[in-house]
Subunit: 219 residues, 2 copies
DNA sequence: ATGCTAAAGTTATAGCATCTAACAGTGGGA
DNA sequence: TCCCACTGTTAGATGCTATAACTTTAGCAT
């Protein structure tokens, strides 16, 4: 993934940073994003507190790297799910399930990138750029699908398409990619936040219905 | 709102608790839910640190009260928006805009109740109960609307309707209330998380389109 | 009015966190 | 071989939650 550096010093440095990220990820999985503690990580590594500040200037820097990493991984998941489905018609559902699967497998990580910003949030422009990768896949998917019934939103999007990053998707495809995203996030994030827990119904069924609606809405 | 207690001691106690909540709310508005600090609040009130532990056993207890309060206020907003619209057909859109308006006016507070759980989350059953109030209004709204085209999800919800708390809404109305909620939350929470900021389009237009879809989907 | 008692406030302290500063080894490369 | 940058250390400043022990205050019954 990361090109191994020439000098052994730099190589060792990257190994340490990777181990820190791994341990931080474990903390995220166990106690959420706010539970990340450089101090605790250092102790787990047999180091004493401030040692890690040689590798990360900030606690925030570590968090930012985790966010970027998670975004890349989610984008990768989405991309590969899309690539593995030959039928363009079935791609949205397949991709949707892939996103939900990834989110359910590591809820805190999903919330890390798409949930409430962490204490010292201040998202750097880098993460914004990475988030576009996911969107690009969505645009690809819906650009390959016939879309009908132009709407008010389509006209607006036609005039504001900078965010596609030069993608050639039609306004209708842009709209469908956007709403695909917001609706996916709606069900998934509420499920992750535990809002459905006491309610008794099966989130799977709700999710599948939502997927079906998204599909049929394309017409 | 709260019945003023008989004894002056209890009255003073409630005044202090209210002032703490107010200052905490300000902290939430400024730095998010994680920024709530009993210590800082105490200093702002001219008290010394541990004094507030006479009024709140925990930092979590304060957070829980803020959550309940926010939930009640959101429910109140939703309820009054619904009551002020005579045309049942227009109610969903009106209520949807009310929810978004409330969320945009105090983003951190919306995220406090529907976003990532705060550090020491552990939501008590009390909050679950309060959250049902919002859902009840949604059920009321869609129960008054004609709904067609039964779906797979409807059958499932017919068999799992405990969460309605005895509401007489039809399965189709239950479904529409649920998806109304998830879709609202999808657009709103992504907007609050700042995911749309760099993209250039107007979130208003996206939101209105989503509202229109929700409406037309009822058929 | 007086005095008891519970509530409200205080300081001191423990523990954990981030992060800076000053100092001590150690190993890579000229 | 030797230098110095890199890696690590301990000490400390600061801020947080939370508990413990002590003091003051104020309500209320007598």
């Amino acid at each position: 993934m990361t090109s191994s550096p020439a000098t052994p010093r730099a190589r060792y440095r990257e190994q340490v940073r990777a181990e820190v990220r791994t341990l931080a990820l474990r903390q995220v999985a166990e106690t959420g994003a706010a539970g990340i503690s450089l101090n605790a990580i250092a102790k787990q590594m047999g180091l004493s507190g401030p040692a890690l500040y040689r590798y990360f200037t900030n606690r925030d820097e570590l968090v930012t790297e985790l966010i970027s990493e998670a975004y890349r991984e989610l984008a990768e998941t989405v991309r590969s799910a899309a690539d593995n489905e030959d039928d363009p018609q079935r791609r949205p559902a397949v991709v949707g399930r892939a996103v939900r699967g990834w989110a359910l497998a590591q809820p805190h990580r999903y919330l890390l990138i798409l949930g409430t910003p962490v204490p010292g949030y201040e998202a750097p422009p880098e993460t914004v750029e990475v988030s576009r990768a996911v969107m690009t896949v969505f645009l690809d998917i819906f650009a390959a699908l016939p879309s009908a019934s132009p709407r008010e939103l389509d006209k607006h999007l036609a005039a504001h398409r900078v965010w596609t990053g030069g993608h050639e998707a039609s306004p209708a495809a842009m709209r469908r990619a956007l709403t695909f995203w917001t609706r996916l996030h709606g069900v998934i994030s509420l499920e992750l936040a535990g809002q459905f827990t006491g309610m008794g119904f099966d989130p799977d069924v709700l999710f599948e219905d939502e997927l079906a609606t998204i599909l049929s809405e394309g017409h």
